[in-house]
């Protein structure tokens, strides 16, 4: 079981969260009409074997979307930040 460090709630069990997938894909702006851009965003993933930036939704806790750094091979956790703050 993973234990994820929510910046608000502290270190919590994976069971309180739902996984939100790759956080490096950036949702295109509303004005984007190029279908290729949307196809990329919705369907294609880097799927790295190693460090991964990913979304977790603390759905049974503070309900915040977090961006967590996690290694997909070792499951080691790096930082975890609120998604809204880590948006570049």
């Amino acid at each position: 079981m993973l234990r994820l460090p929510c910046p608000l709630c502290g270190l919590r069990d994976e069971t309180e969260f739902t996984y939100g997938g790759d956080a490096t894909v950036i949702r295109p702006p509303e004005s984007e009409t190029d279908i290729a851009v949307w196809l990329d965003y919705v369907f294609l993933r880097d799927n790295p074997r190693g460090p991964h930036r990913e979304y977790w939704h603390h759905v049974s806790g503070c309900r915040q979307w977090l961006v967590v750094e996690r290694d997909t091979l070792t499951h080691t956790i790096g930082t975890a930040r609120l998604a809204r703050e880590s948006k570049a």
């Binding site: 309180e16 049974s60 806790g61 503070c62 309900r63």
Partner: protein, 194 residues
């Protein structure tokens, strides 16, 4: 004034186990109000908070008390306020500027389970994946977590006294679950005492 009807209608044995100091109760939360905002939430919520005697947003995980009001900082831009009187919160709500903050009456959305006694923390260990050791979770703290996959708010009111805010539609199911878990520890059901 109408009282909200308890979602707990199962008739469980009033006690289980002979010698037990564990007391379980269920009751309405009183008034519950969520205040939420955007941008500068600290400033936006200040008028309502000061109406209730709170200063600043407070820390996450800290349950602050002022008179008969409790403030839970549940998210960066959200506070959950609890009060014995509906009126107390309404004045606070009226103090907000709808351009910078909004409020939401959740009084009917939650029910309260009280857990009290020397074995309260043992019962909680059977329900939530939260460390209830007093060194880690002292009185005056709260946690948003899950019981049996349902999101709940757990508030340590004193060394041996805990309250859980439970979404009402799940309350009956979780109450049965909780009582079952408490069975081996032994417990007494109490009338709401407030």
């Amino acid at each position: 004034m109408l009282e909200p009807r308890s979602p707990i209608t199962s008739s469980l044995a009033a006690t289980s186990g002979a010698l037990s100091s564990l007391r379980l109760s269920e009751r309405a939360p009183g008034a519950l109000l969520q205040i939420a905002g955007w941008a500068d939430f600290e400033a936006a919520s200040a008028p309502a908070l000061s109406e209730l005697g709170f200063k600043g947003l407070g820390d996450y995980q800290e349950a602050r008390t002022s008179g008969s009001a409790i403030a839970y900082r549940i998210a960066p831009d959200r506070l959950l306020l609890r009060h014995g009187e509906q009126e107390g919160l309404l004045t606070a709500a009226r103090a907000l500027d709808p351009e910078t903050a909004c409020c939401l009456d959740l009084s009917h959305a939650r029910w309260v389970f009280g857990i009290e006694g020397a074995t309260a923390a043992s019962l909680l260990a059977r329900l939530v994946p939260i460390d209830c050791d007093p060194a880690v979770f002292p009185t005056g703290r709260f946690a948003q977590t899950a019981i049996h996959h349902v999101g709940v708010l757990l508030d340590r009111r004193s060394e041996q006294q805990w309250e859980l805010l439970i979404p009402v539609t799940w309350a009956q199911s979780l109450w049965d679950y909780l009582c079952e878990a408490a069975g081996p520890l032994g417990y007494r059901l109490e009338q709401a005492a407030e």
